[in-house]
Symmetry: C2
Subunit: 199 residues, 2 copies
DNA sequence: GAATCTCATTAAACTGGTTTAATAAAAGTG
DNA sequence: CACTTTTATTAAACCAGTTTAATGAGATTC
């Protein structure tokens, strides 16, 4: 009989928060109670265009992709996978209808916290406010590296970089979504791959 | 004789901070004392590659552009103009040498706060921590809209959008930097403009 | 005010993408 | 298993950008 160290999803979230800054146990406990667990099936959506975005999310396992439709074409901005926070921030902050989809590309477990709860906790606790600042800072830096890549690399470099940095994506997400993320058409990515394969 | 309401640069900064959240007067006063005023001439740099980035900055007037060199070519990521906070965040946060330049494209006044001072103030004051979080959130959203544009628009749309949103840039910054910001060569931008002019 | 720099435009040849459409292969589904 | 749906590849025609190099037009400097 095997002894398994069982990590609950909520413990993942707790560890994640503590990775940013120290938070007293009672405060953290109360904060964690504000999160609601959601089990999403492949294809389920958290947000669709026109909706208000009243939650902040955390992916425990699975993959959420963030995209919009431009003249019928999916346009992928980001993939959120294991142990990251996300939401549609512009809509969340401004409380205006979203222009985006947040959709599970596979079965996915997320925790959701209501904006009002999140804001109250920031107001009540300096420590959680700090966690908020630092996680936002991290998100900003990630977003910055995205800009860096979009701006400065050729498609080929971006493809190779993604292949190296997030190889799991190529297993779990269809290639046409990756093409979109790289700013290519599926045809374009296919040609690029062919070109590389030959050399 | 004219009566002029004179706004000092420091008052700009004060207003900016208060635009995010309430901060008690004494706390704010102390915070403002941590900022050092810098008068930059056109071409002066705040950061060059290889340097550590130990300050957070605020542009009062003027324009700082944020770029790196890729095989000799300037690659512009952002222009920071009046009343915005900025720094080279990845280098600032990780305390690793910068890969970028921060350079004045015209005579520019900035305020600078040392990282240690900034961090202390966040630690001491929940209100300033909150200011930190909200300003970071705003920066993230701006960066996000940049990704949105880089990712989803054609060069033509991006050009027209920039022309509309930040017409001042076209007056104060050479066109080849704008081309770089749009992800084009100077030649490419020139052709694009020609094409548009004709139609 | 002549000489020098800096910046924008144009031309020509080239290229890595696009679109559209057909085909092939793989993955669900009853 | 056969059927349908989804995803990836290929081909062909096209185009918006690239590079390189020459020219032009404004600023700057002495």
């Amino acid at each position: 009989m095997k002894t398994v160290v069982h990590t609950t999803p909520l413990e993942n979230l707790k560890e994640k928060i503590l990775s940013y800054t120290l938070v007293d146990d009672e405060v953290l406990k109360e904060q964690l109670q504000s999160y609601q667990k959601l089990n999403l099936k492949k294809g389920d959506t958290l947000v669709i265009p026109g909706q208000l975005v009243q939650h902040f999310y955390y992916v425990v396992t699975g993959c959420i992709y963030y995209y919009k439709l431009d003249e019928g074409a999916q346009n992928v901005l980001e993939f959120y996978t294991d142990d990251v926070f996300f939401t549609d921030l512009p809509a969340y902050v401004k409380e205006t209808p979203s222009n985006y989809y947040l959709k599970a590309s596979e079965d996915t477990i997320v925790y959701a916290i209501k904006k009002t709860d999140a804001e109250n906790s920031f107001k009540k606790s300096h420590q959680l406010e700090r966690f908020g600042r630092l996680s936002m800072q991290e998100a900003f830096i990630k977003s910055f590296t995205r800009i860096e890549r979009l701006n400065s690399r050729t498609n080929e470099e971006r493809y190779l970089r993604l292949l190296k940095k997030r190889p799991d994506l190529f297993q779990r997400v269809p290639q046409y979504l990756i093409a979109s993320y790289l700013g290519l058409t599926p045809v374009g990515l296919s040609k690029l791959r062919k070109r590389l394969g030959k050399s």
